[in-house]
């Protein structure tokens, strides 16, 4: 047993968790029903220990807890909680606060996630893109760049996009790296304090293990109440991956291939393999985002996940990127070489909106819900690295019949599934 831990209850952090969506956590009576139903629980009861920490406001523990990120919010715990304390929602709130905790600079977390700051969050890329358009011609003249012939490039040249987005995603990348490193160090330090730190697996093998898990959505498969979410997430995930590949290839095709003496085929025509991949990816992205929204509305009752602005802003952004992306594509393939001015304006406006949304998505990545792609991955690698429990499919928990209506107490969850 480690030396007695000095507990400093932090009421402010408790209130923060409550505000971030863990509103029912105080109802917990620490009975451990959640830990017995949770697939992730091992020797140290999960998520009860997190519930205890959360009730005491032990922030240092929670933001350095990789277990929080093993949870995919299946909400089996929330559904089975006899007090309606909703541990699953508390964990989601802690993940949100963890992202905020490691955000550099801190205000970005508020900007990216709070609905009150949403107009400002949009205003930033709008202003930046507008300024870029204003300085487009002077810069082009100064650098002696030719006007690109392509339909959209004549409006917003590729060099400008790559320059602008490259710069800001670069900043985001730096912020992400800093945040993730701090997260890793915090996890390590916390485990060391508890005398639990061990590294049975090397980093490369751990990365491979984590990637396998991610590519198959292995852990996600354990969710029962939230089963439909796995498919939705897979669609969004692979949609994104496809679009990432296509975008990367576009840059290669535009700038690397000519240097190698290969003629650029950009913008790709419809039958180009990359264009096919992009379209499939785009469809998957939209399908996934819509499904996420529908499922969040459809899955009701105690098993439903609480949704906050943190979740909705991100999902709408994905959907927005997908839909405007297709709109832009449709304009491109339907307008003739000399389109009418109104159509041209509409096409350019759509393209502008698309660029704003993409900017939001990429630049706010380390601060928004999108950051889970970093934190969850890192936590998974850390879990592999330190030999934490990996769930295996167990027989289903026997179904509990619904209690007669007169026996249903406030907060008691007895519904069948």
């Amino acid at each position: 047993m480690a030396e007695a831990v000095v507990v400093r209850p932090d009421r402010k952090f408790v209130e923060e968790i409550i505000a971030a969506g863990g509103g029912d956590l105080k109802h917990c009576m620490q009975c451990a029903n959640c830990s017995t139903v949770c697939e992730l629980s091992d020797g140290r009861p999960f998520p009860r220990k997190e519930m205890v920490w959360a009730q005491w406001g032990l922030k240092d523990r929670l933001v350095a807890d990789p277990d929080v990120w093993m949870c995919h919010q299946c909400n089996d715990c929330s559904r089975r909680c006899p007090r309606g304390a909703r541990p699953g929602d508390m964990l989601a709130a802690v993940r949100r606060l963890t992202v905020a905790h490691y955000s550099v600079p801190r205000f970005m977390a508020s900007l990216a996630n709070r609905s009150a700051y949403l107009p400002l969050a949009f205003l930033v890329p709008i202003v930046l893109l507008a300024v870029a358009l204003l300085v487009r011609d002077p810069i082009a003249q100064a650098l002696g760049l030719e006007t690109e012939p392509a339909f959209y490039a004549s409006f917003f040249p590729h060099w400008l996009i790559i320059g602008l987005y490259g710069f800001f995603t670069g900043l985001a990348f730096v912020a992400a790296v800093v945040g993730v490193l701090r997260f890793w160090r915090a996890m390590k330090r916390s485990d060391e304090e508890l005398g639990l730190y061990a590294t049975p697996k090397g980093i490369p093998a751990s990365v491979v293990g984590a990637l396998k898990d991610i590519l198959t959505h292995y852990r996600f498969g354990f969710c029962t109440a939230q089963k439909p979410r796995r498919l939705a997430h897979l669609a969004v995930f692979y949609g994104f991956l496809a679009l990432f590949v296509v975008t990367s290839w576009a840059v290669v095709d535009l700038y690397v291939n000519p240097m190698l003496g290969i003629a650029s085929r950009y913008p790709f025509d419809l039958m180009h393999p990359m264009k096919i991949l992009a379209n499939v990816g785009g469809v998957a992205l939209i399908y996934g985002a819509v499904k996420v929204m529908v499922d969040r509305k459809r899955i009701q009752g105690p098993g439903a996940a609480a949704s906050t602005s943190f979740d909705w802003i991100f999902v709408w952004l994905i959907l927005g990127v997908g839909v405007t992306g297709f709109a832009v594509e449709i304009f491109r393939f339907t307008v003739g070489p000399e389109p009418a001015a109104t159509i041209r304006t509409a096409a350019y406006a759509t393209y502008f909106v698309h660029l704003v949304l993409v900017f939001q998505l990429l630049t706010y990545l380390p601060f928004s819900k999108f950051a889970h792609v970093l934190y969850r991955t890192v936590a998974m690698v850390y879990a592999e690295h330190t030999g934490r429990h990996r769930p295996v499919h167990r027989p289903q928990v026997p179904q509990i019949a619904a209690a007669p209506a007169e026996l249903r107490l406030q907060g008691v969850t007895t519904e069948t599934h």
Partner: protein, 751 residues
């Protein structure tokens, strides 16, 4: 008195179809009763008229062979005579093969036994004396006042005695109480003031404050009470009352024994009672420097549910801490409260009270085993706990630690006080010997009890109620609430069991009802629980008494006093009619009109014992009337069969079994004897508290006797059976019968 018997056999409820009634007529006739009637439905109007007419014509001992004597009591009660009941339904036809030789023999034997008893038993006459119906309530707290108001409301004059200078008890010292009405979410202001006003306004209640009891003598209906009032001038008042409610409440557990939790060493560690005082005057502060206490840690179960301290749960501490936490938060919104608990126990609607406190983000609840409370700089208490939920030890610094200590009953151990008095008289005599040494040790170990007397009863067995587990005078057995071991004296409130004010009020009303029952039954000469309405009482043939004192020692209710020589002096209204004195008496001089050593012996001897060549063993069963006999009735009702070799006789309590019956049965040729009674021990269910325990002691003597007679000790078996395990009884019987078959016949058979 000339006895005129008549036998009435009911043929209803399968009896007529299962037995040869004509043959029973011959049995009656052989037993000397020629008046024999059979009827299709004896409990119907025609059947009852038949008996009633016979009674008018001179029958004074009707023997009704029908259903269990526990049913149709009114139907078979006839003016001026005692009805003997023979249980042919539950114990014969419903539990045995119909129209079978053994069943017929069983019915015949039961009829013989009934006739034997009817020939000897007489109708008891009530002991009637003038009875006072006033109620004495000892203790003017919430439960005592509730008892007083209840009894007064039912029309009784009440004497309410309170040791302190004012009424109200602990609850009047606490400004806010746990909620007592919906929605059970927030602390509520005290309502004790209103209760005091109601007591003061009721002219049927005579209140004595600053008063203690100097002496109580007599018996229910005739308690003579002497009160002593301090104050300006010491005054003494005397009065007669009929029954007593002891509502002396509780004392906080002695926190000085909780040194490991910092009490007495760290000034900022206080008890929940001290916290009440703090909260009554304003926001909580630190005793060390008077600064506001902004971090308050409550340690639940401080000295409770702990084998080294109070082993039990005091029921209210969790709710009290929640109340104090909410009050502290309200008085000082800056403060934070930490509640460290073993289990939060908030029964009933008070779960909502707990939820209410949980909603406050500044009230932190956690399950933890607190090990020690130390001190950091500035006299800050530091709590060290084993946090059983996350598997880590934790340390928590606070400004103020509140120990949620439990309640100790404000009782006095009457029996220990008696032992102390006895030992002191031995020491005073100063005769040398081992006895003197033991007496000195007793005095040393019990001296601390002196001066703690409450009721000062003039009882041979001690001046106060005997205490049971954990010093509570109540048995806590669910069937006997408020019952103490002194008839007419009932315990209510926290002296009975740790409870909240609301329950204490209900307790007061409940105990007042018991007290009222006592005086009203005493007026008619009738017994109280559990032999309601029984008017018999023990007769002592004192010419033959040897002053062995076994009856005065063994009576569980302190019924008997002793004169200087040790001769028992009966206080019949204290008596519960259990017959334990009768079972105890080696001279067999104690008997009831309808229950005596002789009557039962005659019943035992009335059974026809087949000789050894018939291979029909005969077993005797003595069944406690309280649980075992009804259990066998229930088994019969469920048509569960048992061996037809056994003959049962109901006894008032296993403690009333006189060992001479065992000897009689064995010499008569019975092959085995089964005794079935209630559970004894710490969680006893014996309706007369010590009866089954006494039988256990006696039965080990019996086993010794059996050995001396070269008889197998398995021939006498003692079983304990709760009433709800009725289905086990036939199994026990059959198993015993099989065992006796194996052992073989009683060698004394036929002698």
């Amino acid at each position: 008195m000339d006895r005129k018997l008549a036998v009435y056999v009911c043929k209803g409820c399968d009896i007529g179809a299962s037995l040869d009634i004509e043959a029973l007529k011959d049995v009656a006739s052989e037993a000397g009763v020629d008046a024999f009637h059979e009827h299709e439905c004896l409990c119907g109007a025609a059947g009852r008229d038949l008996i009633r007419q016979d009674v008018l014509d001179g029958v004074n001992a009707p023997v009704v062979a029908a259903c269990s004597p526990r049913f149709m009591i009114d139907a078979f009660t006839f003016d001026g005579c005692r009805t003997e009941r023979v249980n042919l339904r539950e114990h014969v036809v419903w539990s045995h093969e119909p129209n079978d030789e053994d069943t017929q023999m069983l019915a015949a034997d039961y009829l013989r036994m009934g006739i034997a008893r009817a020939q000897k038993a007489t109708l008891p006459e009530p002991f009637e004396e003038e009875v006072n119906e006033d109620i004495l309530v000892v203790g003017g707290g919430v439960s005592g006042m509730s008892a007083a108001l209840g009894a007064a409301g039912a029309g009784h004059h009440v004497v309410l005695v309170e040791k302190a200078e004012s009424l109200g008890g602990w609850m009047s010292r606490f400004k806010r109480h746990i909620p007592h009405e919906p929605p059970y979410r927030d602390p509520q202001p005290s309502t004790v003031g209103e209760q005091i006003d109601r007591v003061r306004a009721d002219d049927r209640i005579q209140v004595f404050t600053g008063t203690t009891i100097e002496k109580i003598t007599g018996q229910p209906g005739q308690f003579d009470v002497t009160l002593h009032t301090n104050g300006g001038s010491d005054t003494t008042s005397s009065m007669r009352v009929g029954a007593i409610v002891q509502a002396t409440g509780w004392k906080p557990y002695d926190a000085t024994r909780l040194g490991h939790l910092g009490y007495g060493t760290c000034p900022n560690v206080i008890t929940n009672v001290q916290m009440e005082e703090q909260l009554a005057s304003g926001p909580p502060t630190r005793p060390s420097d008077g600064k506001p206490a902004r971090r308050i840690a409550f340690i639940q179960c401080a000295g409770s549910r702990d084998k080294d301290h109070l082993p039990y749960c005091s029921a209210v501490c969790c709710r009290v801490s929640i109340k104090q936490a909410l009050t502290a938060r309200e008085l000082d919104p800056e403060c934070e409260v930490y509640v460290l608990y073993k289990d939060i126990r908030t029964p009933g609607q008070h779960e909502d009270f707990y939820r209410r406190a949980q909603e406050d983000a500044a009230i932190f609840f956690t399950k933890a085993e607190v090990e020690t409370v130390g001190e950091a700089g500035d006299h800050n208490p530091v709590v060290r706990a084993k946090n059983t939920l996350v598997g880590e030890d934790i340390q928590l610094e606070a400004d103020l630690v509140v120990l949620a200590t439990g309640m100790v009953p404000a009782s006095a151990d009457g029996e220990a006080l008696r032992r102390l008095a006895d030992a002191k008289s031995v020491v005073a005599k100063g005769e040398a010997g081992v006895q003197l040494e033991t007496a000195k040790e007793t005095v040393a170990s019990l001296a601390h009890l002196e001066g703690g007397e409450i009721l000062n009863l003039g009882y041979r067995q001690g001046p106060d109620l005997p205490v049971l587990k954990y010093d509570f005078p109540d048995s806590h057995f669910i069937c006997f609430p408020y019952e103490s071991r002194r008839t007419g004296i009932y315990a209510a409130g926290c002296v009975r069991a740790p409870e909240d004010a609301q329950l204490a009020r209900e307790d007061g009303a409940g105990a007042a009802l018991k007290a009222i029952q006592t005086v009203r039954l005493a007026k008619k000469g009738e017994a109280v629980h559990p032999r309601w309405g029984d008017v018999s009482y023990p007769d002592f043939n004192l010419q033959r008494c040897t002053q062995c004192k076994r009856c005065t020692e063994e009576c569980p209710f302190g019924t008997l006093n002793e004169d200087v020589k040790g001769t028992p002096q009966l206080n019949p209204i204290r008596c519960r009619r259990c017959g334990i004195c009768m079972g105890a008496c080696p001279e067999r001089i104690i008997s009831f009109k309808d229950y005596s050593v002789d009557i039962v012996s005659s019943m035992i001897k009335a059974v026809d014992i087949p000789d050894e060549f018939e291979e029909k063993p005969r077993l005797l069963g003595l069944l406690c009337e309280n649980d075992a006999y009804p259990a066998l009735d229930t088994a019969g009702l469920k048509r569960i069969r048992h061996s037809a070799n056994i003959r049962f006789i109901p006894v008032r309590c296993l403690g009333s079994i006189n060992t001479v019956w065992i000897a009689d049965a064995l010499s008569r040729g019975y092959d085995g004897i089964l005794l079935v009674g209630c559970r004894s021990g710490a969680d006893y269910q014996c309706h007369f508290i010590r009866g089954s325990e006494l039988m256990e002691t006696r039965s080990s003597n019996i086993q010794e006797k059996l050995k001396q007679l070269a008889l197998e000790e398995e021939r006498v078996r003692l079983e304990q059976l709760p009433i709800n395990e009725f289905d086990r009884l036939p199994e026990i019987i059959n198993e015993f019968a099989a065992q006796i078959d194996e052992i073989g016949m009683n060698p004394f058979k036929g002698f």
